[in-house]
């Protein structure tokens, strides 16, 4: 314990800010993917699978075309295709979200493993200098500024984009006609139908859009965060995204705050290990945070509901 206090400046320092954001970014993408469908009242358990397929497609296409732009575009397209399994299964045939979502996750795990073997003849992982990664934005004018330079100097394009995406989605959900329709469809489909909204069309649009974001989330993992594909490289980030989405009630800004909390737990944990905290405890932290965050958000939601009901009576 003494070692921790002694080295506190090495645990809590400026680089922790970017580390937090860096580990949170993939989870934010995943959470936004889940938030879009959640607004239409579709629980997107398949986020993990959509991401994984996106990650593989991005690496494969970037490798063969030599262009990260094409790779990312292909990943988004692949994400839409996978998401459509959920869309068609759930919207058209009324399949249970959890069942079809888990089905998609397992399908993604198997199909990426299979394709890794067929396309690249590899097991486990694939990396190559031929893969064109998502470039980083070097802000030269900031590199001399002491603190800001260290925080913002070397972000990946995808990391900048996620901030734009949060704001754009916030605007889209709450300030546009489409957003209003989307929320209407999610909250009270009968009323939306009466108002002349094509409920299924909006739901399909939401699923397709979520697929694009999920594919992008995967592309960021395999082309931005690292430059390789590894089997099951999403490592439950999709599920953590779904948990964060619950925490934020599918509101993009609150959801992202939840993700940052996970990222923070992860980054502090990575630093604490060096000073004699048992690794088992540190590795448990993100999950404890998940449970704590969900419990708090559920409690808040319940008490808010209760209040609303009592004011009605």
């Amino acid at each position: 314990m003494g070692a921790i206090i002694e080295n506190l400046d090495k645990i809590i320092n400026v680089s922790l800010i970017y580390a937090t954001f860096r580990s949170a970014t993939p989870i934010i993408f995943a959470a936004l993917c889940a938030a879009i469908t959640q607004q239409a009242n579709i629980l997107n358990v398949g986020t993990e699978g959509i991401m994984l397929v996106g990650a593989f497609t991005a690496v494969a296409v970037s490798y063969f075309t030599g262009s990260w732009v094409v790779g990312v575009a292909a990943a988004m397209l692949a994400g839409v295709l996978i998401a459509m399994i959920i869309g068609i299964g759930h919207i058209k045939y009324g399949a249970d979200n959890c069942a079809i979502g888990m089905g998609v996750n397992m399908l993604a795990l198997a199909i990426t493993k299979f394709l890794l073997n067929v396309v690249f003849g590899m097991n486990g992982s694939f990396s190559s200098p031929e893969i064109d990664p998502i470039p980083r934005v070097k802000l030269e004018f900031l590199s001399e500024v002491p603190i800001l330079g260290e925080i913002f100097c070397n972000w990946s394009i995808a990391e900048w984009f996620v901030i734009i995406l949060i704001i754009a989605l916030q605007f889209l959900f709450y300030k546009t006609v489409w957003g209003l329709r989307l929320r209407a469809v999610g909250q009270f489909p009968e009323a939306a139908k009466t108002a002349g909204i094509n409920v299924n069309k909006i739901k399909y649009q939401a699923v397709a859009f979520a697929g694009m974001i999920g594919g992008l989330a995967g592309a960021h993992l395999s082309l931005g965060y690292s430059t390789q594909f590894v089997e099951n490289m999403t490592s439950n980030r999709g599920f953590m995204g779904v948990a964060a989405m619950y925490f934020g009630g599918a509101n993009p800004v609150f959801t992202s705050l939840g993700c940052l909390l996970f990222g923070f737990a992860d980054s502090v944990g990575a630093r604490l290990q060096a000073y004699g905290i048992p690794s088992q405890f540190v590795l448990m932290m993100p999950y404890i945070v998940t449970i704590a965050v969900l419990s708090v958000s559920m409690a808040v939601k319940l008490s808010a509901n209760k209040k609303r009901q009592s004011s009605l009576n």
Partner: protein, 371 residues
């Protein structure tokens, strides 16, 4: 029509489910049903197999995936060499969770292989538990010891190899004229799972580093997973932020992220198990090579030649060529004139001292030649 489509959809979903339940679940299900009908047949077969010319059937159960460019690939290289040399029949079972490892091992046992190799110490507990139920199957375990009459164990003096790696890192972190090397005497170490054999690595690494500089600080972290390179990368960045400029990985697939992180930051890493010097050229100082391939090959050879000795342990040390550092050639090319030749000379000197017994490298509890 509608019904037909939904039926097709349901069918494809089921297909997806079984396909990805992974090798593990599926194979055990298959294995147990087959086993029920085949145990008697298998027993009969086993006796006839010895007499006839059937190839020896070997199954390697990995605790992780192939393609890690590290431990598992090294083991597989040895097994593949045995296929070429002895014409054995080889089956590899991969899996990334403990449930998969156990069910893969059971599947291998039930299938009646002549030799079942548990590729790492992660699987030792399952062999201890299930080995006695299959007295006619020969087992081998690499990297640790299982004390059963039908199990042959092979372990390594990873502490000796890590001692050299630690010493090299401790010297390297002082060479501030090399790009990226800072003034702090801090080095890092990232492990896969928190298991005893990794502590044996760390014990040697720490002793080696302190042999060079008693005041050096060593940062330690475990990813908790063998195939999560992003986690490995994040842990490496955290250690770099805390003042380390060189980080050793002992982390199979997770380690790929350690090496990538070093390259990305313009800093340095140390490879493990296989020669990883060229994986991220210029960022890997050296690799602590552990001849897992030899261990695997020798075990198969012992079965082929009938010298398999259950209940024994082989201990491959620095002296036997079981562990060593690479020749630093890749980093030498990248650093050019700045390459510190004195590290290589010192490593050679230390290596001779260890072999001569002048330096005794400590073991983590439960490891070492006596065990």
């Amino acid at each position: 029509m509608k019904k037909l489509v939904s039926a097709a959809l349901a069918a494809s979903l089921c297909l997806g489910l079984t396909a990805c339940g992974g090798g593990a679940a599926e194979t055990t299900a298959a294995a147990t049903t087959v086993a029920a009908t085949e145990t008697t047949a298998a027993a009969a077969e086993a006796t006839t197999a010895a007499a006839s010319e059937d190839p020896i059937r070997v199954c390697v159960v990995y605790t992780g995936n192939l393609g890690d460019k590290s431990y598992n690939d090294s083991c597989n290289a040895g097994a593949q060499q045995a296929v070429t040399d002895f014409g054995i029949e080889l089956k590899s079972l991969e899996g990334s969770t403990a449930e998969e490892w156990e069910s893969n091992l059971l599947a291998a046992c039930e299938e009646g292989y002549d030799l079942v190799i548990g590729a790492s110490s992660n699987i030792a507990d399952y062999i201890t538990e299930h080995g006695p139920n299959y007295p006619d199957t020969k087992f081998a375990v690499i990297d640790t010891t299982v004390d059963l009459p039908n199990v042959q164990s092979i372990s390594f003096a990873q502490n000796e190899g890590s001692f050299l790696a630690g010493a090299a890192a401790a010297m390297f972190t002082e060479m501030t004229d090399i790009d990226g090397v800072n003034e702090d005497a801090i080095i890092g170490w990232v492990g896969g799972m928190d298991i005893p054999v990794l502590h044996d690595f760390f014990t040697g690494y720490e002793q080696g580093a302190k042999y060079i500089n008693p005041d050096i600080q060593i940062l330690q972290a475990f990813a908790g997973e063998w195939s999560n390179p992003l986690k490995g990368k994040e842990l490496t960045f955290a250690q770099f932020d805390q003042g380390a400029d060189i980080v050793m990985n002992v982390a199979s697939g997770t380690g790929a992220g350690v090496l990538e992180g070093a390259k990305e930051k313009g800093l340095y890493a140390i490879g493990v198990d296989l020669n990883q010097d060229a994986d991220q050229p210029g960022a890997v100082l050296t690799s602590m090579v552990k001849r897992v391939d030899n261990a695997c090959y020798l075990t198969i050879q012992s079965v082929v030649e009938g010298t398999f000795a259950g209940g024994t342990t082989q201990y491959l040390s620095l002296k036997d060529g079981g562990v060593s550092l690479t020749d630093f050639s890749v980093i030498k090319e990248h650093l050019g004139d700045k390459f510190p030749q004195e590290i290589v000379d010192k490593v050679d000197e230390l290596s001779e001292k260890i072999i001569a017994g002048e330096i005794v490298v400590e073991n983590y509890e439960g490891f070492g030649p006596a065990n």
